[in-house]
């Protein structure tokens, strides 16, 4: 503990003060240099954002004219990066439509074709790998997911004694992911699809923690898609290429289903285990299933999320 010394007299001009000046500027300069140098990795930054993107409004606040501009920007960016001119559209929900997915656990053989068809349709990153669908291999008789095998790789499927359960976004009626998002970057559309505005998401990953179905995927780095595998039929809320640091997930192939088509995972399923349609239309396949099949599973029904994804069985 130092005693209070009387203040030393201010140094006379000359040696000392020049030295202290040199000393101070040296430390300041070296500190500033170190600070500047510490930012050196930023040299590698390319195409991180743009003024237009930075200032872009939330999806729901864009006027049609602004939306057109945004779509043009996206098309331009895709063309610059992949040298392919995409068709980027913003499809609106149809009136009187509520999408429902039904998956027949009796039929699924666990071939994972749906996983890869989804990746191809929705321009998911190939490395690091982003896949919306996880197929679980489960021992007969149990729905305890702790006993699931995610990485099965036998010579052929199905294997005796097991059944297979593909899981993807369940398009909950009461989606916890939407509730927790701090910036409303994800919401439920009138046709039941929970979407993400990839240009609004801040990447906090709260929704990923909230989802009880491991449905959400984060772009941990810049996604990479080989040019020859790019799907040029794109939509704003759907399969347009994403950027680093945002969330994505299954959106029932919004770019297909809002044009009246079936989702990609359904069309590729060799076993016909997947059924999709408008639950409000009594003529639809899904309405038939919900009316005539006896047992459904809504995964983790007890959580009250009320999925629009039903697992069912024949007989």
């Amino acid at each position: 503990m130092s005693d209070q010394k009387p203040p030393s007299a201010p140094p006379p001009f000359g040696e000392v003060s020049r030295r202290s000046f040199l000393r101070n500027s040296a430390i300041l300069a070296s500190g500033a240099a170190a600070l500047a140098a510490s930012l050196a990795p930023l040299r590698e930054l390319s195409n991180y954002t743009s003024v237009e993107l930075f200032l872009q409004k939330h999806y729901k606040e864009l006027t049609p004219a602004e939306m057109q501009k945004v779509l043009d920007r996206i098309a331009r960016e895709v063309e610059q990066q992949y040298h392919i001119r995409p068709r980027v559209r913003d499809y609106k929900p149809m009136d009187g439509v509520e999408f429902v997915y039904c998956l027949n656990l009796t039929r699924c053989i666990g071939c994972r074709k749906c996983v890869h068809a989804c990746v191809a349709e929705n321009n998911q990153s190939r490395n690091p790998e982003i896949q919306y669908i996880r197929v679980l291999k489960m021992p007969h008789g149990s729905l305890d997911m702790e006993r699931a095998d995610h990485n099965y790789a036998p010579a052929s499927v199905p294997e005796k004694g097991f059944f297979y359960m593909p899981v993807q976004c369940q398009q909950c009626k009461n989606p916890p992911c939407v509730k927790v998002c701090p910036v409303k970057a994800t919401w439920q559309e009138p046709d039941g699809i929970t979407v993400i505005d990839y240009d609004w998401c801040i990447g906090c990953r709260y929704c990923e923690a909230a989802c009880p179905y491991f449905a959400r995927r984060f772009n941990w780095t810049k996604p990479s898609i080989p040019k020859e595998r790019l799907n040029p039929e794109m939509s704003y809320l759907g399969n347009r290429p994403r950027r680093q640091g945002v969330m994505e997930k299954c959106h029932f192939c919004i770019q297909r289903t809002r044009q009246g088509k079936y989702p990609a995972c359904l069309e590729v399923c060799p076993a016909g285990a997947r059924k999709f349609g408008n639950a409000l239309d009594p003529e639809s396949e899904v309405a038939y299933i919900l009316k005539n099949k006896r047992v459904f599973i809504q995964l983790k029904e007890e959580l009250g999320t009320s999925p629009r994804f039903f697992y069912y069985f024949d007989v």
Binding site: V119, N127, E129, A155, V157, W220, K275, E285, N292
Partner: protein
């Protein structure tokens, strides 16, 4: 000791500052040379075989073959058989039908109890190019669903509703057609169980583990 303590505070401060200056400069160099490198290394993941994303059915039905102009020689029975000549099936001691060597590609595997062991349960013995149901209807080969449905009632009902079997195209019929596959697009009528197949590759983890140890990518 006393001396050092008194060694004016300024001198000590000067020393500290000099060392700090040197440290800052060293740090700056290290940053520029990327001393704590993240090498942006990604472990290679092979692109998936396009077979796994093909929407083709596991086999071709007669109707598919006719439509696509494929080889329909299998359905031209009277290229070998003689018309109007009654046909006699042969059975082995267990009561299973003996498949003639001309039809060796046919595996008799329809039904589990040796009961569906007679070609003419489904084929019309009076006209081999037709099918026949148990209630005596005669059907073209390409109309097989009605034949299958004559036994598999509930499945046929599901199929009619689009719920059993494969569909593609449009769920919304006023915007486009639905393409519904038939029974024999997936099931071999002589041996209907759905064939097993090789699964597509499973997921690759973001941070692969080696010997149970995570490789953090930041360590180049």
């Amino acid at each position: 000791m006393q001396f050092i303590c008194e060694m004016s505070a300024t001198v000590k401060t000067n020393w500290v500052l000099r060392v700090l200056t040197a440290l800052f400069l060293g740090l700056a160099m290290a940053f520029l040379c990327n001393g704590w490198g993240y090498s942006a290394k990604l472990f290679p993941i092979p692109l998936v075989d396009t077979n796994f994303i093909s929407t083709a059915t596991v086999r071709m039905s007669a109707a598919d073959l006719i439509r696509s102009g494929g080889d329909t020689s299998d359905f031209e029975c009277y290229a070998c058989h003689e018309r109007n000549k009654p046909f006699k099936l042969k059975f082995d001691a267990e009561g299973d039908v003996l498949v003639p060597k001309e039809h060796a590609n046919i595996v008799m595997g329809h039904g589990r109890h040796h009961r569906n062991n007679n070609c003419f349960n489904c084929h019309d013995e009076t006209n081999l190019e037709l099918l026949q149901t148990r209630d005596g209807r005669h059907l073209k080969i390409s109309d097989s669903p009605a034949l299958c449905g004559s036994c598999h009632g509930p499945t046929y009902r599901d199929w009619e509703a689009g719920v059993h079997g494969r569909t593609s195209g449009y769920w919304k019929r006023d915007l486009g057609p639905i393409d519904r596959k038939v029974c024999t697009s997936c099931h071999n009528p002589h041996s209907p169980p759905f064939p097993s197949r090789q699964p597509a590759p499973g997921p690759h983890p973001l941070h692969p583990a080696v010997d149970g140890k995570l490789i953090a990518r930041s360590e180049s």
